[in-house]
C-alpha cells in the first residue's frame, strides 16, 4: 500500500465520517438531555430528501440546506411532542419517525419528480463544492506534509469543516455554558433541575431542536455534498452507526469524533477493498460492515469500559406522583 493510497483512504474516511459525526453530535445533545433518539436515521433521511429537492428546484444549495434542516426539525418536533409533552415511549417514537421519513421521502419524491423516488441530479450551485484551502496548490510539492495538506485537509466541502468545528463547539457548549450545564443536568436528574427552578420541558425541547438542526445538516451533506441528489433510503443505516458511535464515545464530543472517524475508516476500507488480506488471513468486507455494531455491543456489555447512558435517559419526567 503506497502513500497515495493511504491518503485516498484517509480522505475518504473524512468524507464518510462527516455525516456520522454530525448525526452523532445530534444524538449527543438529545440523549445528554435524557431523550433517547433512535430516529436519527429518519431525521437525516428527511433532510436529505428536502435539501436535495429544494436545491434541485431552486438551484441553491443554501435554500436546500435550510429546507433540510426545517424537515429534520419537524421530525424532531414530533419526537419532542411524543416523548416530552405526551410522555410516550421514546424508542417507539424513534421507530415511527424512521418509517415516516422512509415512506414520505419516496412518496413525495415520486410525486414531485416522477423519477422512481429520486430527485434530479444536482449540479453547480445546487451542491456544496469542495473548498481549496489557501496555499494547497503551492505546498503540494513539499514531501509528506504537502500531499497531506492538499489531499486530506484541503478540498472538502463546507459541511465537512463545519462538522469538525462542531466538535470543540459542542464540547464548549456542554461544559462551559449555562445551557450546557442545564442540558446535562436534565439528562441525569430532571428533578434536580426542576427543584432548582429551571423548566425541564423547555430544556429538553431545546436539546431535541439542536438534535434536529444537526441531523438536518447531516442529511443535507449526504444529498448535496457527498452525493449529487437524493435516492431512496440513502442514509443506509448511518443513523444507527451514529448511534453506535455515540455509545462507543460514551456520550462525549471528542470521543464522538474518534468513534465516527473509526467507523468512517471502516466504511472507507469496505468501499475500497472487497477482502483484506492480513498476512494470509483474509478478512471479508462484511467484517468491516459489522465491526461498528459488534464493537458497540461489546462496549454495551461492559466488558471493555462500561458505557453508562445518562441516568434519566428514556424516562418521561413526571413530577406529580
Amino acid at each position: 500500500m503506497d502513500f497515495a493510497t493511504v491518503l485516498q483512504i484517509l480522505d475518504s474516511t473524512v468524507r464518510l465520517a462527516t455525516p456520522l459525526l454530525l448525526a452523532c453530535l445530534a444524538g449527543l445533545f438529545s440523549e445528554r438531555a435524557g431523550i433517547f433518539d433512535i430516529g436519527l436515521e429518519g431525521k437525516m433521511l428527511a433532510s436529505a430528501f428536502f435539501s436535495a429537492a429544494v436545491a434541485a428546484v431552486t438551484g441553491s444549495v443554501w435554500l436546500g440546506l435550510g429546507a433540510g434542516i426545517a424537515a429534520s426539525l419537524v421530525m424532531a418536533a414530533i419526537h419532542g411532542a411524543a416523548s416530552i409533552s405526551f410522555r410516550g415511549n421514546q424508542l417507539i417514537s424513534g421507530v415511527a419517525i424512521n418509517f415516516l421519513a422512509a415512506g414520505l421521502t419516496v412518496v413525495i419524491a415520486q410525486t414531485w419528480f416522477s423519477q422512481g423516488g429520486r430527485t434530479p441530479s444536482l449540479i453547480g450551485a445546487a451542491r456544496f463544492e469542495p473548498i481549496t484551502l489557501p496555499l494547497a496548490e503551492t505546498l503540494q510539492p513539499v514531501p509528506i506534509l504537502g500531499p497531506i495538506y492538499h489531499e486530506l485537509i484541503s478540498g472538502h466541502t463546507l459541511p465537512v469543516y463545519l462538522a469538525f468545528a462542531l466538535v470543540p463547539v459542542s464540547w464548549w457548549v456542554l461544559y462551559h455554558t449555562r445551557f450546557g450545564l442545564r442540558l446535562r443536568a436534565v439528562g441525569e436528574s430532571p428533578e434536580a433541575l426542576d427543584t432548582a427552578g429551571v423548566s425541564v420541558v423547555a430544556t429538553r425541547y431545546a436539546a431535541v431542536a439542536i438534535c434536529g438542526v444537526l441531523c438536518g445538516i447531516a442529511g443535507a451533506y449526504l444529498a448535496t455534498a457527498l452525493q449529487a441528489g437524493f435516492v431512496k433510503d440513502m442514509t443506509a443505516g448511518r443513523g444507527f452507526i451514529a448511534l453506535a458511535a455515540l455509545i462507543f464515545a460514551k456520550w462525549r464530543p471528542w470521543q464522538a469524533l474518534g468513534a465516527t472517524l473509526l467507523f468512517g475508516f471502516l466504511q472507507a476500507i469496505a468501499l475500497r477493498y472487497q477482502n483484506i488480506d492480513l498476512g494470509g488471513v483474509v478478512v471479508p468486507v462484511q467484517v468491516m460492515d459489522a465491526l461498528p455494531y459488534v464493537l458497540t455491543v461489546v462496549i454495551l456489555a461492559g466488558f471493555v469500559g462500561r458505557a453508562i447512558p445518562p441516568r434519566a435517559g428514556g424516562e418521561p419526567y413526571v413530577k406529580e406522583r
Binding site: R178, R182, R184, A185, S189, A192, A196, G197, E320
Partner: protein, 516 residues
C-alpha cells in the same frame, strides 16, 4: 436576632387551611401552621402522614388545592420552585436532588448561574462556598464529584445549595435517615449554628429523639391532618408518640392465652446493608415459637422492613435464620420460592408494590408466589385456571372479600379487600411461620377486626407469627410478646400486660430499654 419565639414578631411562615389531594388520596387536609423566625420547628408523623407533601407545597413543587401561604407576613402563591427560592426558602429533600456526575460547585450554581458562561459563576460560587464553610462548619471539597461523596457530604451540599441561594428558611425532610449518629450530631451542630444566625429551620422527622434534642416547637401530623402544635420543652416523647400513632377505637381481642410450643423461627445476628451502604439491620436476634405472636414495634424506618425482606426472601442478608431447626440459605437465587418451600408465608408491608400484581385478576393474585403448587396445575403443561378460580371464589367468600368476583383486577378492590386477598392466600396454606407487615395499613375499621381475628385464629392453630406494625394498638392487642426495634437493633422485649404505650414509645424513640 434572638433565638426564642417572640410574641409580637411576624411569623417566618404561616400556612392557613392547606389541602392537597392526589387523585382519591387526601394527602393534606386543612392544615394550618405558624413558624416564628430564628427557631427550629419540628414536624413529626408516621410515614404517609402528609409531612413531605406539605413541605413540597411550601417549596412550590406541588400546588395546593386550597389554602393560603404567607412568607414573612406577605401572601405568596409559591407557584413553582423558582418562586420559593425567591421567597428565601431552601429545601433539603429526603432523596437528594443532586446531579450525581456533577461537581459540588456545578450543583450549587445550577439554576442560579450568573450569566450564559459558567466560568464567572463557578468562581463566585467557589468564594461563596469558602465563606459558608467558615461561617457554618460546612466544609466540602468544591471540586469533588457528587457520586464520590458519602451521604453526609451530599446532604451538606444540599444545605450549601440552599444557603448559596440565600435561603432564610431551610426545610429538611428526614435529614438523618441516611446518616450515622456522628454525622447526625454534626448536622445538628450546623442547624444550631444556622439558627443562631437567624435562619428559620423546619425539620421533618419521625425520630422523636431528634425532636426533643434540637427543636423549639413541634407539630404532629397524622393521616393528612395537623393534630397538635406544642412547645418542645412542654412535651415528652411519650406524648408525641401517642399523638403520632393516634388513639383508635381500641379493639379488644377475645383471645386465649398463648400456648407456645416448639421454636419455629430462630434468627441470630441478622445484618442487612442497603445499596447506599447503610447498615439497616445491625445484628438482630430473635425467636418465635409455634402458637405465639411476636410483635415488632417501632417507628417506621428502623429496620423492620429489612427484617421482613430478608425473612421473606426479597433481600439478601447475613447471619443465620432457622425454620424448625433447618438453616435457610440467605444467598439463594430463588429466595422467594425456597422461603415458601420452607414454610414461611409473607404478607408484605406494601401490598400494592409487592404483595399483588395490580393488573392481575383476583384469581391470578390468589396463587401469586404459589403458582408452582400441584393444585394449580391441570397437567404438566397448563395451569388449571378453572380450579384456581373456584378456589379463589371459595376463599373470597370465606374471607368476606367484596365484591366476591375472582375476575376483577386487584386494583379495583379497596385497600381492605386487597389485603384480605393477600391474607387469604398466605394464611390458607397453613404456614409454619407467617411474617406480616402493617396488616391493617390503609384498611377500614371493619376489615381491621376481621384481619385481627384471622391472625389470632392462625396462632391458635399452631402457627408462629411475626407481626411488624407501626400501630401500637395493634401490637398491644395482638402480640404475646413485643420486641421494639430502633435503628436496626432490638431495643428490648416486653410482655403486653407489663407495658403500655408510653413505655413502648420511649423505647421506640431509642430513649430507654435494655438491649435484648
Amino acid at each position: 436576632m434572638a433565638g426564642a419565639a417572640g410574641g409580637q414578631r411576624v411569623p417566618a411562615i404561616e400556612l392557613r387551611g392547606i389541602s392537597k389531594a392526589f387523585g382519591p388520596v387526601q394527602a393534606n387536609r386543612d392544615i394550618s401552621l405558624t413558624v416564628m423566625p430564628g427557631t427550629i420547628h419540628g414536624i413529626v408523623g408516621e410515614n404517609g402522614a402528609g409531612k413531605s407533601t406539605l413541605m413540597s407545597i411550601l417549596y412550590g413543587f406541588y400546588k395546593a388545592d386550597a389554602g393560603e401561604i404567607r412568607i414573612g407576613g406577605q401572601p405568596n402563591q409559591i407557584s413553582d420552585s423558582q418562586a420559593a427560592i425567591r421567597a428565601g426558602i431552601g429545601m433539603v429533600f429526603q432523596h437528594f436532588k443532586l446531579v450525581e456526575p456533577f461537581s459540588v460547585l456545578e450543583n450549587v450554581i445550577l439554576g442560579v448561574e450568573d450569566g450564559r458562561l459558567l466560568r464567572p459563576s463557578l468562581a463566585r460560587a467557589r468564594g461563596a462556598l469558602k465563606r459558608l464553610a467558615e461561617d457554618y462548619e460546612l466544609h466540602v471539597d468544591p471540586d469533588a464529584r457528587i457520586e464520590d461523596l458519602g451521604v453526609g457530604m451530599k446532604q451538606r451540599v444540599e444545605i450549601l445549595k440552599a444557603l448559596y441561594r440565600q435561603a432564610d428558611i431551610l426545610i429538611l425532610d428526614e435529614p438523618t435517615g441516611v446518616l450515622t449518629p456522628a454525622e447526625a450530631d454534626h448536622l445538628f451542630r450546623i442547624l444550631e449554628n444556622l439558627k443562631s444566625q437567624g435562619k428559620t429551620i423546619i425539620l421533618i422527622t419521625h425520630k422523636l429523639r431528634e425532636i426533643m434534642a434540637i427543636t423549639d416547637t413541634v407539630s404532629v401530623m397524622r393521616r393528612g391532618q395537623m393534630v397538635a402544635t406544642l412547645e418542645t420543652a412542654q412535651t415528652s416523647p411519650g406524648e408525641l408518640a401517642e399523638l403520632m400513632v393516634g388513639r383508635k377505637v381500641l379493639l379488644h381481642m377475645d383471645k386465649k392465652p398463648a400456648a407456645p410450643g416448639r421454636t419455629v423461627l430462630a434468627v441470630e445476628n441478622l445484618r442487612v446493608t442497603d445499596i447506599d451502604g447503610v447498615e439497616r439491620l445491625r445484628g438482630v436476634s430473635l425467636s418465635v415459637r409455634a402458637g405465639e405472636i411476636l410483635g415488632i414495634a417501632g417507628v417506621a424506618g428502623n429496620g423492620q422492613s429489612q427484617l421482613l425482606g430478608v425473612l421473606g426472601g426479597t433481600l439478601r442478608g447475613s447471619g443465620t435464620v432457622r425454620i424448625e431447626g433447618r438453616e435457610i440459605d440467605l444467598a439463594a437465587r430463588d429466595a422467594g420460592q425456597s422461603r415458601r418451600a420452607a414454610g414461611i408465608a409473607h404478607v408484605p408491608e406494601d401490598r400494592q408494590r409487592e404483595g399483588l400484581v395490580m393488573e392481575f385478576l383476583a384469581w391470578e393474585n390468589m396463587i401469586f408466589g404459589y403458582h408452582h403448587d400441584p393444585a394449580c396445575q391441570r397437567n404438566r403443561a397448563l395451569m388449571d385456571n378453572a380450579a384456581i378460580r373456584a378456589m379463589t371464589a371459595e376463599r373470597m367468600a370465606r374471607f368476606d372479600v367484596r365484591p366476591p368476583d375472582p375476575d376483577l383486577p386487584a386494583r379495583s378492590f379497596s385497600g381492605g379487600n386487597q389485603q384480605k386477598i393477600v391474607l387469604a392466600r398466605e394464611i390458607e396454606r397453613n404456614p409454619a411461620l407467617l411474617i406480616v407487615g402493617q396488616p391493617t395499613r390503609g384498611v377500614d375499621i371493619g376489615a381491621i377486626e376481621f384481619i385481627h381475628q384471622r391472625l389470632i385464629a392462625l396462632r391458635d392453630a399452631g402457627a408462629a407469627i411475626l407481626l411488624v406494625s407501626v400501630e401500637l394498638d395493634e401490637i398491644l392487642s395482638l402480640s404475646d410478646r413485643i420486641a421494639v426495634m430502633f435503628d436496626g437493633r432490638i431495643m428490648g422485649e416486653r410482655r403486653p400486660e407489663e407495658t403500655d404505650e408510653k413505655d413502648l414509645g420511649l423505647m421506640m424513640a431509642g430513649m430507654r430499654g435494655k438491649a435484648a
